[in-house]
């Protein structure tokens, strides 16, 4: 019990990772009705590109700079350069994400406009294979890590015995930042309405002069940026490896829980799933202990509960709210 | 001519027609703050064509939805042939002999015309997932019988032979409406609810549709509830008219009388005669 607070905070922190990744799904779904099965691979690409820029290119760049303009190189302290490198890697990763998704949009998604949604979803599944293949082709499959880590362990948050690594605070920060910017973006532009119009009926939207292509490009870009930033941050938790893409699957309960088309919902969904993962097993454990005491039984708490509990909770919530917490109920009318 | 030998379905209900085939009692239906129906009640006699008219948003479609148990009114009852159907599940209503067409076409777009019509017969067929999958003996004979009956009676009546193998989605609007009627007929209806069957049709097709409705009513003895904005049709073919406005009944009576009712003119008809019908007046 004394750890409850720590569990809640950690749960929320993990939840914010889910929230960050889930947001990308919601943004893309909102205007295209497409569940992007390659979202996890976007995360993967983000992680690898950031790592490559940060770790491999840094050395080359420094070397070149130190040779060409030693005085510039000397002007900043190593800590200062570290900051510059982090910022540069960060920005370039975003740029890389944008380039990637705009190319994808142009080559793959645009020709699929107007085709059955399920076929487009299938395309994203195939896309996942391609992206994964590209990553293994370029960077091979070995585990790599940010060296030195960008978000150091020691500047984490101490909560009793638990230390929350600093990277989680950053993730929290970015999730909030994205949420606020999207809220403002949708409030002060008419893009939000256009996006939903496109999702509702592409043909009619086109008949009103809404460019489906532009809307697709915008939402895929935002979705991809969120994902690659997520990849960069998540890659700092425990290094990058080919399984980073599993986030694509693990955040599904979060997306659905929040309601597919709701960005805010994705955040709430992520946090709730995080909490379920951290409090659920504890509660089940306590319940089992109580039962054992009451009936003098010797039940054991099943293991790996945190893998299934989100799904159990998800089904339970969906039975009460079939469109998630903030999703839009489908019109049922004849 | 009720009882004619060519009738697909014998006329239902008591010949005297004392008890109405359908009785709507005090229906109340609210959506949030909006009262779509605020205490509507009327009766439909056996074998008639009963029209329901009223301004847009008056609640006409809502009444049909309540009859089909698609909407669940907060208050009131629907009585069909003496049986209170206000508690039945939606799908059970079809089995009783209530069929309908929809305002926005509700066909199964990816299927052929024939399959759409066959689906109308669903509630009256027996084959299950085992016998159907084997497609032997009974299931096969049943399918063939349905096919023959649909071809020879319904498709023939509605003159849609040439399109029966076509996929419904690509058909023009007017034909889709006709297919919808065909599907409703396949349900062996005693009561047929039609929601704006003539909308979007040109004059010729409207005339055809009117003829079909009259045939169905007179030769097959099916009672028809007809919602229609084309006043020419309503005036010509209906036996009785109910007028709704804001979820309440504001008038009822024979068509000619209703059309002279000043309330009806003010709320619904307006002054411009040309707007009343596609048919020249």
């Amino acid at each position: 019990m004394e750890n409850l607070f720590g569990l809640i905070i950690t749960g929320l922190a993990i939840g914010s990772v889910y929230a960050l990744v889930a947001m990308g799904f919601a943004l893309i779904y909102k205007s295209t009705s497409i569940i992007n099965f390659a979202q996890g691979e976007f995360v993967l690409v983000g992680g690898y590109v950031a790592l490559w820029l940060y770790t491999d290119l840094r050395g080359l760049a420094f070397e070149a700079l130190a040779q060409a303009r030693p005085e510039v190189f000397a002007a900043l302290s190593p800590a200062g350069w570290q900051l510059v490198v982090v910022a540069a890697a960060f920005l370039l990763t975003i740029v890389a994400g944008l380039v990637m998704v705009l190319a994808l949009e142009r080559l793959i998604l645009r020709p699929m406009i107007g085709e059955p949604i399920i076929s487009v979803i299938m395309v994203t599944i195939a896309l996942a294979t391609v992206l994964k293949g590209l990553v293994t082709l370029i960077w091979e499959t070995q585990i790599r890590n940010f060296d030195p880590p960008i978000f150091q362990q020691q500047d984490g948050l101490r909560l009793g015995v638990i230390t929350l690594p600093g990277v989680y605070l950053w993730i929290f920060f970015f999730a909030a930042l994205f949420l606020v910017s999207f809220a403002l973006f949708f409030k002060f532009t008419r893009v939000g309405v256009s996006m939903r119009a496109v999702a509702a009926d592409q043909q009619v939207a086109q008949s009103m002069g809404i460019s489906v292509k532009t809307v697709f490009a915008i939402s895929w870009s935002i979705g991809a940026v969120v994902a690659v930033v997520g990849g960069m941050l998540v890659g700092n938790i425990n290094g990058v490896n080919i399984e980073l893409s599993h986030f694509g699957l693990t955040v599904f309960p979060a997306v659905i829980l929040g309601g597919l088309e709701s960005v805010g919902g994705a955040i709430i969904g992520g946090l709730v799933i995080g909490l379920v993962q951290y409090l659920g097993p504890e509660l089940v454990g306590q319940a089992v202990a109580l039962y054992n005491r009451a009936f003098d039984a010797a039940l054991v708490t099943p293991g790996n509960l945190e893998a299934v509990l989100p799904f159990v909770v998800l089904i339970a919530i969906l039975m009460v709210r079939p469109y998630g917490l903030f999703g839009i109920k489908e019109i049922e009318r004849v | 001519m009720p009882g004619s030998s060519s009738a697909l379905h014998p006329p239902a209900g008591p010949p005297g027609g004392q008890t109405p085939i359908l009785k709507i009692e005090d229906l109340h239906l609210r959506f949030g703050g909006l009262a779509a129906l605020a205490g509507v009640g009327f009766e439909v006699a056996f074998g008639v064509i009963q029209a329901i008219i009223g301004p847009n948003g008056a609640g006409k479609t809502c009444i049909l939805n309540c009859i089909c148990r698609f909407y669940h009114p907060q208050r009131g009852r629907v009585i069909f042939m003496g049986q209170d159907i206000s508690r039945l599940p939606t799908h059970a209503v079809a089995g009783l002999g209530i069929a309908r067409s929809f305002q926005n076409i509700e066909l199964f777009k990816g299927m052929t015309v024939l399959d759409n019509i066959k689906l109308g017969r669903h509630a009256h067929l027996k084959s299950g997932f085992l016998s159907g999958g084997l497609y032997l003996g009974k299931a096969r004979r049943e399918e063939m019988a349905v096919r023959a009956e649909i071809e020879e009676k319904i498709i023939d009546l509605l003159e849609i032979e040439s399109i029966r193998k076509k996929v419904v989605g690509a058909l023009p609007y007017g034909l889709q409406k006709r297919v919808e009627l065909a599907r409703a007929l396949a349900m062996k209806p005693k009561l047929l609810l039609l929601d704006e069957p003539m909308a979007g049709m040109n004059l010729e097709e409207t005339e055809d549709m009117a003829r079909f409705i009259l045939d169905i009513n007179q030769e097959w003895g099916v009672t028809v509830v007809l919602i229609e904005h084309d006043m020419g049709v309503v005036m010509d073919i209906s036996d009785d008219v109910v007028v709704l406005d804001f979820g309440t009944k504001i008038a009822q009576g024979p068509p000619a009388a209703v059309a002279r009712n000043p309330h009806v003119i003010q709320a619904y008809l307006g002054a411009d005669d040309a707007a009343h019908s596609k048919l020249g007046v």
Binding site: I35 | G132, A139, A148
Partner: protein
């Protein structure tokens, strides 16, 4: 119409193969499948692949994909849980056969029924959930079932002996192939028949427009659950066959990846078409294996880039699927229909 088809009886009009061309083509196809083991060795020598094994898997997956197509293609309910339902069928069949000594036919039937039961339980949310919400609810089924198999039953790996029927043992790859081919054909025929009768039409109605289906008298709940039941029965059956052809059941074979793969089969093949599952499984499996041929050849010439070639093969595979979908978004069976309708009217196309 000068060149349409006319039939004297409704019976003929409702037949599955309506033209002589089709009947001949189908008969030829059947002969080809039956004769396959006799020239598969020759093919294998040509390509350095084992075709009998590949074809056996294709048959098993066709059966499962037909099941998923019934649920997703015909009834409109996406499932991401079919991998797990297949696992249930496989484990049930394996355990009943090995531990309780059930005859293999009974065992795979029981496996199918067990999968059907679980499918129906996890199908209950379909009463309220639509589209992707339902898809993710079935993903929950996938995760929970595998978790149960692994954690609670500690199923791990089960060894299964060969199937025997009336003293005849399905112990060679050839016999296994025929066994699986038989079941795949049976499942396909069943689905085809089902879809042209009352139940099948109701499924499609539920998919296209469940609201009007209800008004017509289709009991939504019944048909949604029924669809889950039949569908997971078929995939459970496929699981049982898997157990008896591979002689081993391990939970790792039936993960989320398999569920996604099943979905890929039917989308690429064509949703809501009985031929869809056949085309989809065949296309994707052949593509996958045929890509192995150049990869293999190249890695002999350039042994240093063996790993790169493996990645490249994955990339090419994904790209081909993408390009294919861009040109044929409705799946292969759509193309097949175009070809067929062309042949129907041949030589007077247009």
């Amino acid at each position: 119409m000068p060149c349409g088809l006319f039939f004297e009886t409704y019976e003929k009009d409702e037949a599955i193969f309506q033209t002589t061309f089709l009947r001949v083509a189908m008969a030829a196809f059947a002969v080809l499948l039956l004769a396959f083991p006799f020239f598969s060795d020759w093919l294998s020598g040509l390509t350095n692949l084992y075709w009998l094994g590949i074809m056996t898997h294709i048959c098993i997956f066709v059966l499962g994909a037909q099941g998923l197509n019934l649920l997703t293609g015909f009834t409109g309910q996406i499932s991401l849980g079919h991998g797990a339902f297949m696992a249930v069928g496989a484990f049930t069949a394996g355990v009943l056969h090995m531990d309780l000594g059930w005859n293999f036919l009974l065992a795979i039937l029981a496996g199918g029924l067990m999968a059907a039961a679980l499918g129906m339980i996890f199908g209950v949310p379909s009463l309220r959930l639509r589209g992707l919400y339902l898809a993710i609810a079935t993903l929950a089924a996938q995760i929970i079932i595998i978790w149960l198999l692994r954690g609670v039953f500690e199923a791990g790996a089960v060894e299964v002996s060969d199937a025997t029927l009336f003293g005849f043992s399905f112990d060679t790859d050839q016999r296994k192939y025929y066994l699986c081919l038989f079941f795949a054909a049976l499942g396909t025929l069943y689905l085809k028949n089902l879809m042209r009768t009352r139940t099948g039409r109701a499924f499609v109605a539920v998919r296209d427009r469940y609201l009007s289906a209800e008004v017509i008298g289709v009991n939504l709940f019944k048909y949604r659950i029924l669809s889950f039941g039949i569908s997971s029965f078929m995939v459970g059956l496929a699981g049982g066959l898997w157990a008896f052809t591979e002689n081993a059941v391990t939970d790792e074979a039936f993960g989320v990846a398999l569920s996604v793969k099943y979905l890929a089969y039917i989308i690429v093949g064509g949703l809501g078409q009985v031929t869809g599952a056949i085309f989809g499984v065949t296309f994707l499996e052949l593509l996958h294996w045929l890509l192995e041929v150049p990869t293999d050849a190249l890695s002999r010439i350039f042994p240093n880039i063996f790993e790169k070639l493996a990645s490249l093969r994955e990339i090419v595979f994904g790209l081909i699927v993408i390009v294919f979908l861009i040109f044929e978004p409705d799946g292969l069976s759509a193309r097949w229909r175009t070809i067929r309708s062309y042949w129907k009217l041949w030589p007077f196309s247009y």
